[in-house]
């Protein structure tokens, strides 16, 4: 063809190079999603084929030239029942299959590695617990489940990785999560799919899936030196949180050691499981979450802590596994960063504060 028109040839080459019709299957979820997709395509083809067959056959067989006089027919309960029940059964299969897939996509395994993502107009800010900060990029190891905790600091965004078949909305004021496990090394599109204003189409990035070794190398090289928990620790001290949350005999606030994941009794008598969303919300709206046994004296930190700061605090409290750490914070107040992983574990923690219940 190139001897007919070189320009056209170049054009075709370029087109075919860039022509895609099916996205890469790069996560452990993708084959499951694609299986449902092909099933749905199959029933669509059958359904459309049935309608097309009926319309074309009848149009030929009963056109006026062939059949000058129509035969009146009222209907047929049997036939109508048939084409009520068969689609109903097919749609119910789609429902059950889709529901199973939904729970598979949105139920993270307990050993997932957590990554925080903050959406803002018009970028994705990725915060790794180890202190790696990225903009519009996400580096992950393959064959390891990754959980993304999403939040937006302004409008709705949506964190979509088509090659992994996952997507979740980043909403202001609440954490949403999604998870995936990459199976193929490669670079994939990361899109914001919820319209978020002028540069919506530039709120894109890439997901780099690497072998675990490459990932370790990247993580070591890209870290800012302070883990999120360390940043959180400094923030905890600088905001003066430890003046109340210090587990002393006259402490005004609940002890935070081991609070993450525990069931906390509220003033209303109900129990709440402490998770990321709860911690974030108690920092911003403390009066809405009054813990039993404590006076509602905590001020709101609305507007004083950024979404990243909140993530740091949550990450810090999540890792507070002993009173020793809090004492360390009080004593050090961020003078020397402490390796979170190296916390002495043998230290006995004081008796649990009232209102907290060991899980």
């Amino acid at each position: 063809m190139h001897f007919i028109s070189p320009v056209l040839w170049q054009f075709l080459i370029k087109w075919l190079t860039y022509f895609a019709i099916f996205p890469p299957e790069a996560s452990s979820i993708a084959p499951y999603a694609d299986a449902l997709y092909f099933f749905l395509v199959a029933i669509s083809v059958v359904g459309l084929g049935a309608v097309a067959f009926l319309v074309v056959t009848f149009s030929i067989r009963y056109r006026k030239e062939m059949n000058p006089v129509a035969t009146p027919i009222e209907g047929s309960t049997l036939l109508e029942a048939t084409w009520t029940i068969i689609p109903l059964i097919l749609f119910m299969i789609c429902f059950v299959w889709g529901a199973l897939l939904y729970f598979r996509i949105y139920s993270p395994p307990p050993n997932a590695m957590n990554v925080y993502v903050v959406g803002k107009q018009w970028m994705w800010k990725v915060e790794h617990p180890g202190g790696q900060h990225e903009i519009n990029a996400l580096h992950i190891p393959i064959n390891r489940p990754i959980q993304v905790t999403l939040i937006s600091q302004d409008v709705f965004h949506s964190f979509s990785i088509p090659a992994f078949r996952v997507k979740r909305e980043a909403i202001p004021g609440r954490y949403n999560t999604e998870w995936f496990e990459a199976t193929q090394v490669g670079t994939y599109h990361l899109f914001c799919t919820q319209y978020c204003g002028t540069l919506h189409s530039q709120m894109i990035g890439e997901v780099v899936a690497m072998t675990p070794e490459d990932y370790e190398a990247w993580a070591a090289g890209a870290t800012s030196g302070n883990s999120l928990a360390q940043n959180g620790e400094r923030l905890f001290a600088s905001l003066g949180c430890n003046s109340c949350h210090n587990s002393g005999p006259n402490a005004h606030g609940p002890n935070l050691a081991n609070v993450y994941g525990s069931h906390l009794q509220m003033k209303s008598g109900s129990f709440v499981t402490v998770d990321d969303a709860f911690l974030r919300d108690t920092i911003l709206n403390p009066t809405m979450h009054e813990v039993a046994g404590y006076a509602p004296i905590m001020p709101t930190y609305q507007g004083q802590v950024s979404e990243e700061g909140l993530i740091d605090l949550v990450e810090y409290i999540r890792r507070l596994d002993s009173q020793y750490r809090i004492d360390q914070t009080i004593n050090n107040s961020a003078a020397q960063p402490i390796q979170t992983g190296a916390t002495p574990t043998g230290t006995s923690s004081p008796a649990l504060a009232p209102g907290t219940v060991k899980p």
């Binding site: 999603a33 009848f58 056109r63 119910m92 979509s160 189409s201």
Partner: protein, 553 residues
Amino acid sequence: MSTIVTLPDQSTATLPKVSYLNKEYGLKSWLLTGDHKRIAVLYMISITFFFFIGGAMAGLIRLELLTPPSDLLAADTYNKVFTAHGIVMVFLFLVPSVPATIGNFLIPIMVGAKDLAFPKINLLSWYLYVVAGIMILCVLAFGGVDTGWTFTTPLSTHYLNTHVVAAGLAVFVAGFSSIFTGLNFIVTIHRMRAPGMTWFRLPLFVWSHYAASILMVLGTPVLAITLVLVVLERTIGIGVFDPTKGGDPLLFQHLFWFYSHPAVYIMILPGMGVISEVISTFSRKRVFGYTAVAFSSVAIAVFGFFVWAHHMFVMGISSYSALVFSLLTMLVAVPSAIKIFNWSATLYKGSITFETPMLYAFGFLGLFTIGGLTGVFLGSMGMDIHLTETYFIVAHFHFVMVGGMLMAYLSGVHFWWPKITGRMYPEGVSKLAAVITFVGFILTFFPQFLLGYLGMPRRYAAYPPEFQVLNVFSSAGASVLGVGYLLPLLYLTWSLKYGKIAGANPWQATGLEWQIQSPPLTENFVETPIVTHEAYDYEWLESKKGSEVPTVG
């Protein structure tokens, strides 16, 4: 026996001396009319105007998407253009399309009444529509709005400095226009049926309009309230949707989709009514399973109210409510499937002819089937995660709204054109237009399904280069589609003066509207008709023709 005045047929037809078109002359006689037929014509002119404005926006969108970078339009302009396309097409074209034009013209005649129950409210409804339309035009002229037609908070309330308040109020006003139309239809269908016109003798067109009217009356106020809240949040900061004030941004999504999902059925149900009439007439047979088709309209209206949260599967609603809404979404697909198969079965042992309305109806059957089945993809929760907010959604609702509703509208306009104007449209060129529209449509929107599965997000002014080939197909198709829509505008206008004179009943159809002169008298019927036959009774029509001496009314 019949008291209906009939005219001699097409070969010897002449235009009646007096009709609703020439009873009074002058602009004032149109602008102050209470006649549902004249209001229908006013509506038809105005929605056609807005259709071509919305269409021009669509053309700009497709031109921009011809190449990956945002080169023809800047991102900001692109956002304003797709917002204008959405708002104009949804609120100023699709919602009023069939009901306010063909429905307005035909519902009173089909039930055997002289007019709608509230003629002045009907006129008010058109004026509200015009006010809303002018407000939208002003918004566009003064710089546009870039919220998307969904007005998503907090983007619309806190982060944009375009004319959100004016656009929101325009949609609010347009909503009242639609509420009034729905109210008028419900009262007319309940109270003004001619003697003998029982519920199960009503044409299916009336049934589907009845179902759509219920949705309009019950759903639209929720949209109105929601938009008022958006306006108040934007102007005085009441904080219903603002999380920093304790509001819930998901609440907006619930409220908006509580209207906007049923709105899809407001748009499609009247179109389904058109298809029932057309397929019956051109296969000379009663619609197969009349009762099932009638009740499936009502079922769609009822179930349609309880599926809205399927727009929110990825937004973090609870898994259990997602399950319930997914299940109900599957159930609402069933009545549509019933209708499709019943229409197909109507052709069985018919005596089928292929005039233009029938070609458009066949186009509807094919495209709506694809649109409906791809809706099942999206109702299926796990699949929706990957497909939502991509071009798959765009393709899906264009198949339903444009492939379904617009095909039905054009089918209806051609079918009743002789009744509305008294003249025939040119058959040859209109068949060509129907085929062009069908081919252009497939070429435009089918590639978008593939783009959606690839993951191309909607509302992107720029996109990665590997999506270009499919986008070029889509833009090429859009230009074909444009020709398909311009042709009817031209030849229908031409036919107003040069079309063949139609006569009362050019299709030999059974509806009451075909038993009166074309164009009808202002009061529709000389005497109130007494209905003694079922809908779509072609034997009754034959016997009537044999036994009656035609008289000119």
